[in-house]
């Protein structure tokens, strides 16, 4: 009785890699990333644009992937939490993960508990600090006020934002001192 859904080829660059998949027009970007590309770091907390857990960077700007269709991401560049550690100012942690300043700061400041909301905060804060490298305490709080976290009470997330700004400055300083070379 019902027809098979028409599939559309979607090609996006995700974390620097071109990916193509055939998906129905109604497929949410969040589901596309999570289930078609199996990048499950992006989480879904509400599916109605309120919680921010699904935030990814689309051409560098934070977007709620549950409010976007995969087909509308055609030819755009997407960064998910899995891609944050590939930034030039990331460093390899003793446990082997490559962590960007924002990721490093959240781990240092106990900015997460269950970690479910965390990818959305990390992407949001990454984009924010690009524009605002030296936020005040108040500005840091404001910057994360569109994302929900049920575990932390936000105290340590605010700290993490401030610490991330510090680490970014430190690492960029180091890079400049060493002639702007790419870290390993």
């Amino acid at each position: 009785m019902t027809d098979v859904e028409t599939l559309h080829d979607v090609t996006v660059t995700v974390n620097g890699v071109r990916r193509t998949a055939a998906v129905p027009a109604r497929r949410l970007l969040s589901d596309f990333l999570r289930h078609d590309l199996r990048l499950t770091g992006t989480h879904v907390g509400c599916e109605h644009g309120v919680c921010g857990a699904c935030t990814v960077l689309v051409d560098g700007a934070p977007m709620r992937s549950c409010l976007m269709f995969a087909v509308s991401a055609q030819q755009h560049e997407i960064t998910t939490v899995e891609g944050l550690g590939s930034s030039t100012d990331a460093r390899v942690a003793p446990t082997g993960e490559s962590l960007s300043p924002v990721q490093q700061a959240f781990a240092e400041c106990h900015g997460l508990q269950c970690g479910f909301c965390t990818p959305g905060f990390l992407t949001t804060v990454t984009a924010y600090l690009e524009e605002n490298p030296t936020p005040t305490n108040e500005e840091a709080r404001e910057a994360i006020s569109g994302n929900l976290c049920r575990c932390t009470g936000y105290q340590n997330i605010v700290k993490s934002v401030l610490r991330a700004a510090e680490i970014t400055a430190e690492r960029r300083g180091e890079a400049a001192a060493s002639g702007g070379g790419e870290p390993a």
């Binding site: 129905p24 289930h35 509400c46 106990h110 269950c114 936000y154 105290q155």
Partner: protein, 810 residues
């Protein structure tokens, strides 16, 4: 000794993985699984007349559509009542899929299994269910008057009626120089973890085995429940809690209907099946808590000392009681807080309503109890013109009176007996932290600027670490890797870190060599679960005991090989060595090799062990009669009673004289959870609890209309606080060790949220000059209260009329 790990603010071991997208939550698993979706009742109370799925069966991708009639045997029987109680005379549970009748909006009626969730939901939309609507019972008053019934065979909607009394309350009240009665009201809220519920099951037909993953607070509980429901031997069912995106109580319930249906369908279809709850489903088909009406009558002397406390409460348990009546039982016992109540009586009625069922939410009845007791303390102070902290301190149980037995039974059926605590010291700390004695001056300055501010306080005692037991298992591999497992689950409490800290210290190994697994029934089959602030106390203690066993064994084996006495040995950074002669040593990995007589030289440790060949005795077996191969140990911790943590919070709020907007200017916490394993993590728990408390005090309420529709079943409408709503939280700690467990620890998970509504009410009342008896409170509510106060419908506080007259309210 290596650097002390216990007590240090160690960074969490789980975080590098979680911040890099390496978490594996329920819906991150099973990409090949079929998806389940549900048709849920749109009515609060109705009879199911007909279910027509004809239009849905042809939807491309649909694999199965199931209604109650399709469920065989126990799968179709009522869900279990997990915690029966003698006073729960009319316990009722639902079915995995509704049979004949639905009792709340959101109750599952039909399950669709399809190739993906989109398709499953398409099919759900094509299924037509005809209902005959029945009159719904919504709200505690409607339940209490008993005109309409939720369940025909439950008279008066009363699931349980319970009374506990210590002393003669009527006589004590009659003899009291002063008496007061308070009518209090707390509305419903809910856990709303960022990750909803979810379950994923795979059936292995060749082995006849079921493996399931659930976003649960008790994997052993789900395992046993599912095995019983599906008539499978326990040995053929495994349950694993993967990373869990928050729980806060709601995920302790087991089995949820979906936890029965998804494994059942996986076996029936021979294909993996997964269900991931969406946000709306979480609001209407998981669980809520908090809704209670409370009448508190107190008798007290001229000094403000309680002589009698008489509490009646009406608890809204929703449509069913799968988790028994734990919540009102906790309210009725934990309400006492740090005080001696004089004669005490608590009577409660647990009532059915046609709303989502009620199970514990972080705090579990304590926020309501604390609200009752603390409102009473403030009322006494106001009546007698005493300082609010003075009244509290006059009623405190003193350190010299510990252990203190209230003569009541606690939630675990054991005596309500406080093990330790120094309430006067906690009070002194909170007064210093918030600047209690300087507040009058601060207020005067604020008032001169036309601002209205108030100061509030709230104290609580929390029974934590209830039994019956948890276990710990530790195994040291030949590489020196230390594997630790405990059966209870994790939802963000940092168990991988805190349990590793305990093991690192007990064994003398490096933190990075310790690897903790929780919530995996394959690793530890005996466990209870993570709730009631019990994980650190219960599993922490069990793991410490297991580590001590392993240490003893390691020292015995090493002493043998090194030909010294075990007392002369120490373990430092994973090496067993002779005290004072550290060159005589062997690694724990080598000890592990020696512990197993089957020694193929697979690795360096095994080769290294050949130098310690030992003496060969042909008359002895390779493994002694009372020994086991391997360097491992297991132990369980089972306490005689709960251990009682406590804390005191204070806040300064500002209320806008015109708009009635409420702002928390300062929020201060003093917290005593005994010895802290990791203060950074304890502090994080307190922060999270306070934020949930602030939500419960100012923003979160379940808005049911009279027909039983939940009007705000989304994060758009149910206001979980963002960072902009949570104040900066200032904390200070006291560490009064528990004498009950080997580590001196008490639970910390729930503490933060318990007194918040009481504190905020106390502060708003102080700012406004009239009593606050109903929480949460919105600017709208406050504005309305001001209007009624101005109209003379609400009396002023005595202190508002005693001091210089204030400007009139809006």
């Amino acid at each position: 000794m290596t650097t002390q790990m216990f007590g240090a603010p160690i960074r969490r071991k789980e975080d590098p993985r979680l911040v890099s997208g390496g978490g594996r939550y329920l819906d991150d698993l099973g990409h090949d699984a079929l998806a389940a979706a549900f048709v849920r009742s749109p009515h609060a109370h109705a009879r199911i007349v007909e279910i027509d799925a004809a239009d849905a069966v042809d939807v491309e991708g649909v694999v199965g559509i199931y209604v109650h009639e399709d469920l065989p045997g126990r799968v179709g029987e009522p869900l279990p009542l997990l915690i029966p109680h003698p006073t729960l005379t009319h316990g009722r549970t639902g079915h995995a899929l509704a049979r004949d009748e639905v009792n709340h909006v959101g109750e599952a009626v039909v399950m669709v299994v399809a190739t993906d969730r989109y398709v499953a939901e398409d099919a759900c939309q094509r299924i037509r269910v005809t209902y005959e609507q029945l009159p719904p019972v919504v709200g505690i008053e409607a339940a209490r008057d008993g005109v309409r019934l939720v369940h025909d065979d439950v008279p008066g909607n009363v699931a349980a009626h319970m009374l506990q009394e210590v002393g003669d309350v009527d006589a004590a009240l009659a003899a009291s120089p002063h008496t007061l009665t308070l009518e209090l009201d707390i509305e419903r809220s809910a856990c709303t973890p960022m990750e909803g519920r979810g379950v994923y099951a795979r059936w292995d037909d060749e082995r006849g085995e079921l493996r399931l993953w659930s976003s649960t607070q008790t994997s052993t509980g789900v395992r046993a429940a599912v095995a019983a429901k599906l008539d499978l031997p326990l040995a053929k069912v495994e349950c694993i809690a993967p990373d869990v995106g928050g729980g806060f109580g709601v995920k302790i319930v087991h089995p949820w209907p979906e936890e029965v249906l998804v494994p059942w369908a996986a076996r029936l279809l021979g294909q993996p099946v997964k269900f991931t709850e969406d946000r709306r489903e979480h609001f209407v088909s998981a669980a809520h808590e908090r809704g209670q009406l409370q009448t508190v009558t107190i008798g007290f002397d001229d000094d403000g000392r309680l002589l009698a406390l008489d509490v009646k409460l009406w608890h809204d348990n929703g449509a069913y009681t799968p988790y028994g009546i734990i919540v009102p039982i906790i309210t009725s016992t934990q309400l006492l807080g740090p005080y001696k109540p004089g004669a005490y009586r608590c009577e409660f009625w647990s009532l059915y309503t046609n709303t989502v069922l009620v199970t514990p939410y972080r705090g579990a009845g304590r926020p309501q109890g604390c609200f009752a007791m603390e409102r009473a303390m403030d009322a006494i102070a106001d009546e007698l013109a005493l300082d609010r902290t003075e009244v509290r301190s006059r009623n405190f149980i003193l350190p010299s009176e510990m252990p203190y037995d209230h003569g009541l039974l606690f939630q675990d059926g054991r005596p309500l007996k406080y093990d330790s605590g120094d309430f006067p010291a906690s009070l002194a700390k909170i007064k210093a932290l918030v600047g209690w004695d300087d507040f009058a001056a601060y207020r005067a300055t604020a008032e001169a600027e036309g601002r209205r501010v108030g100061l509030g306080i709230g104290c609580y005692v929390e029974g934590t670490g209830v039994g019956p037991y948890e276990g710990g298992h530790i195994q040291i591999e030949t590489s020196g890797r230390v594997n630790v497992s405990t059966g209870l689950t994790s939802q963000g409490q940092g168990h991988e870190t805190v349990f590793a800290q305990i093991v690192a210290d007990e064994l003398g190994v490096r933190l990075e060599d310790v690897h903790v697994t929780t919530g995996d029934s394959r690793k530890m089959a005996y466990a209870v679960g993570t709730f009631a602030s019990r994980a650190a106390v219960m599993s922490g203690s069990a793991i410490a005991l297991a580590a001590r066993k392993v240490r003893t064994k390691a020292l015995r084996i090493a002493a043998d090989a090194l030909e010294v006495s075990p007392q002369d040995l120490e373990i430092v950074e994973g090496t067993v060595r002779v005290k004072g002669a550290p060159a005589t040593s062997m690694s724990l990995g080598t000890v592990s090799v020696l512990s197993n007589p089957l020694r193929y030289a697979f690795d360096e440790a095994a080769q290294a062990a050949t130098q310690f060949a030992g003496t060969f005795d042909p008359d002895k077996p390779p493994v002694a009669d009372d020994d086991e191969p391997g360097l491992e140990g297991r132990d369980f911790y089972s306490p005689t009673q709960a251990t009682f943590a406590n804390g005191m919070h204070a806040a300064i709020v500002e209320t806008d004289p015109v708009t009635a907007e409420i702002r928390i200017l300062r929020y201060c916490v003093v917290h005593d959870c005994g010895t802290m394993i990791n203060p950074m993590i304890v502090e994080g728990q307190v922060h999270g609890g306070v934020a949930q408390g602030v939500g419960g005090a100012l923003y979160e309420r379940m808005a049911y209309d009279e027909s039983g529709q939940l009007l705000n079943a989304s994060f758009m409408d149910f206001l979980v606080p963002y960072a902009s709503e949570v104040p900066t939280i200032e904390t200070d700690h006291l560490e009064t060790p528990s004498p009950l467990n080997p580590l001196g620890i008490k639970g910390a998970g729930e503490a933060g949220c318990i007194p918040v509504s009481a504190v905020i009410a106390s502060a708003i009342e102080d700012a406004e000059g009239f009593p606050i008896t109903r929480m949460p409170i919105s600017p709208n509510d406050l504005w309305e209260l001001r209007r009624r106060h101005a109209a003379g419908e609400i009396p002023s506080l005595h202190r508002a009329t005693r001091t210089a007259p204030k400007e009139t309210t809006a």
